[in-house]
């Protein structure tokens, strides 16, 4: 199958590749860019393990073609650390609140929670549950994931307040 060029920015790095038009974004990220944080759990956009941030939206990269991401800004869990390399508040929250077990859903959860906190800096527990409902977890029962997001929201809000 003939290939076509695609350009995008992934975790702040310019990417320029030739791909088959049918190549899924998740396979592009994992196979071509060696970013194996996004996982494949269903290939039908139900489980959310492949969630990445694309131009300020959470998308399930298993149901986006790489060529559809032409010109896009993409962030994966590998791009989530703070600028100084330290863990982001969300990553820290997942660890502190035991918000993960097998870790397979975690990158998608973190990316989805990241977008949620961009849109709503102080969500209620119910809002967190609703906003994460496109991401499935088989291990934790979600309770500690909710706590992890709460932890990050509180920490980020405290940092903002201190900066003001």
């Amino acid at each position: 199958m003939s290939k076509i060029p695609v350009k995008m920015t992934v975790n702040g790095r310019a990417v320029d590749e030739l791909v088959e038009p049918r190549l899924l974004l998740v396979h592009f990220l994992r196979g071509k860019l060696n970013l194996t944080g996004p996982h494949v759990g269903c290939e039908t956009s139900h489980c959310g393990a492949c969630t990445v941030d694309l131009d300020g939206m959470s998308v399930k990269s298993c149901t986006v073609f790489a060529v559809q991401a032409e010109g896009a800004e993409i962030t994966t869990v590998e791009g989530m650390a703070n600028a100084d390399g330290s863990l982001s508040a969300l990553q820290e929250g997942f660890m502190q609140e035991h918000g993960l077990q097998c870790g397979y859903c975690t990158p998608g959860m973190i990316m989805r929670a990241h977008r949620l906190l961009q849109e709503n800096a102080n969500p209620s527990d119910e809002e967190i549950r609703w906003e994460l409902s496109g991401n499935l977890c088989r291990c934790t029962g979600y309770q500690n994931i909710v706590k992890a997001v709460r932890y990050a929201a509180d920490k980020l809000n405290a940092q903002r307040e201190a900066a003001e």
Partner: protein, 801 residues
Amino acid sequence: MTDATEMTLEEREATLGGIGCARKRKEDIRFIQGKGNYVDDIELPGQVFGDFVRSPYAHARVKSIDTAAAKAVPGVLAVLTAEDLKPLNLHWMPTLAGDTQAVLADQKVHFQNQEVAFVIGEDRYAVSDGIQAVEVDYEDLPVLVDPKQALAEDAPVLREDVEDKDNVGQGVRKHPNHIFAWEAGDRDETDKAFAGAAVTVKEEIFYQRVHPCPLEPCGCVASMDPVRGELTLYGTFQAPHVVRTVVSLIAGLPEHKIRVIAPDIGGGFGNKVGAYPGYVCATVGTIVLGRPVKWVEGRIDNLSTTAFARDYHMTGELAADSNGRIAAIRVHVLADHGAFNAHAQPSKWPAGLFSIVTGSYDIPSAHIAVDGVYTNKAPGGVAYRCSFRVTEASYLIERMIDVLAQKVGLDKAEVRLRNFVTPEQFPYTSCLDWEYDSGDYHTALNKVLEAVDYQGLLAEQAEKRKRGELMGIGLATFTEIVGAGPSRNCDILGIGMFDSCEIRIHPTGSAIARLGTKSQGQGHETTYAQILATELGIPSDDITVEEGDTDTAPYGLGTYGSRSTPVAGAAAAQAARKIKAKAQKIAAHMLEVGEKDLEWEVDRFKVKGLPEKTATMKEIAFAAYQNLPEGLEPGLEAVNYYDPPNFTYPFGAYLCVVDVDRLTGEVKVRRFYALDDCGTRINPMVIEGQVHGGLTEAFAIAMGQELTFDETGNIQGASFMDYFLPTAVETPVWETDFTVTPSPHHPIGAKGVGESPNVGGVSAFSNAVVDAFAHLGVSHMPMPHTPWRVWKQCQALGIGE
């Protein structure tokens, strides 16, 4: 030697991060940064991909397979069929249950989506093209999806390959579609008890076919080094060492030339215990092509072909006196095992540990009988987050207790309290011959009843019932049997179900421990290190825990059936004690005293009566490599293979409150209170996480999960469109509690907890739903309790309008 630090005893203890502390997990740091290493992340030089052509028919003769067009597809490298595997004798493989399973369909297909051909290509896209180009000509045959019909006299014979065999590995057969009959207990005694009983109850209880459905599907990468003649097999293996032995036996490769590696695993829940055709085909592929071959199943493949759970058609009966005191239990099970008997149980137990069916109750007589049957469904029959068939057993007795309470007109908590094994009876031997190690069921249940104000809930329910509202209170007071197991009654392929730990202490006082189990998210790297920290006096942060590589880890039987803590956790403690014994000899030499003059304190040996004369484990570790007493070999290492003297018996008391909308059938879980007793608690944070997860899986099973088939054998609902995995929105909020009744025979008193919440949870939910209708004369409702089914129940009772 003097104490260089100023730390208090408590501070030294805290520094260890040992048993009982809520230590943060060591494995998290890689997962939260996307740096886990799962099977699909593995990319070896020259690696290619393989996947299956699957049968659209549930039962059909394969008349021909034309692979020519597929082989011509760009990027396709090879297409394997049963004919290609025949010369290697790999077209069929032995199952763990003594049967055989087709690796690739040999003349017939026996279930929908069965593996028919294996296409290997440069990448998964080329393989997908190739799969579509394979032409298979089928002739469809009559289909059996109902195990009762499968035993009809004129039923079509499903397994023609074993039609003439009177035994397919687990006992005598009485019909061509019958696999085994198994029984336990005393039939005559039980019949007698039933004949003389004041009260008897009977219920047909079907535990539906479900699937463990971990978020990461099954997969492997097989890589043959043709020069060295060595095969490396990476895979989603809950039991990597057993996989190596199986591969050696069926592929005829010497075991030392096979290296099996289970990297990070994205959840297992029983689904990753079995051996699947994908592993065999990838292995053949790498041998044929000389390139590494990856196979990773899709979600529909996972739900429709790799090991399912349950599918038990149970008939339960209790005999009791008018006070609700149980005299006997009788159970018959028709077990639907699908097309091949590939369930994963210890060899001698065709119904697993189902004979734990007397539960937490002191029942004098019991008789159980199980018949296994072939149908045109996927093979399997694994324990989905439970010990072997324990959830089925627990569900049956916990449902039947409620049915009995209803019949004798007593409160269901009261009936439980009247029948519990009492604390004085432990160790308690059940009439089905299990020796329960320890328990205190009354304390557990009473603690829960008090915590939730049970009397208040009953009063509220009575009020609501007067107003025509439906509120249910569900109880489950379960006992599990985990930690398989003592080799006298547990083996897999003849290998005793021990487990192992090997520890090496480095000269600077840090350590590495390797175990025969394999975490799939349970947090072994964290919790095993805590056991070792307490035993050895080395901080858990200084202990690396490794599992899953058969070249480095000692042989073990893997992680399932909540066996890691009871078996490998015990091995860890025992290996540590061997090290400590040697350390004591070295310390005596260092301090120039006799061994008996020393006593252990947290992280060091002290000379009795001379508290300033100490040797810390760190100091001893260094001495082990340069300053040894004469005659003692250098180094500080130990290995222990632990064959447990008994199972452990965790238990719990769960209470669930539901409100049912009689107009829509929707069930809302208002409250769920879970008390678990898993003996000594190693890490309360991890335990709570396990309980949350297990309860959520129980919720999924009780309220929505079911794999059904239409009459032509089409599997229905084998994708995330239909198969119920609760999201954060549906999942209830969990309240947890605990008591601690240590196991008397386990080195640290721990029992295992990962599966208890699933075992107890399913019955608690189901009992709550049925209880909402109990005052209307309903004694049982089949799972899953979907709104549609509950609505139909309301309609049948005339309360749905």
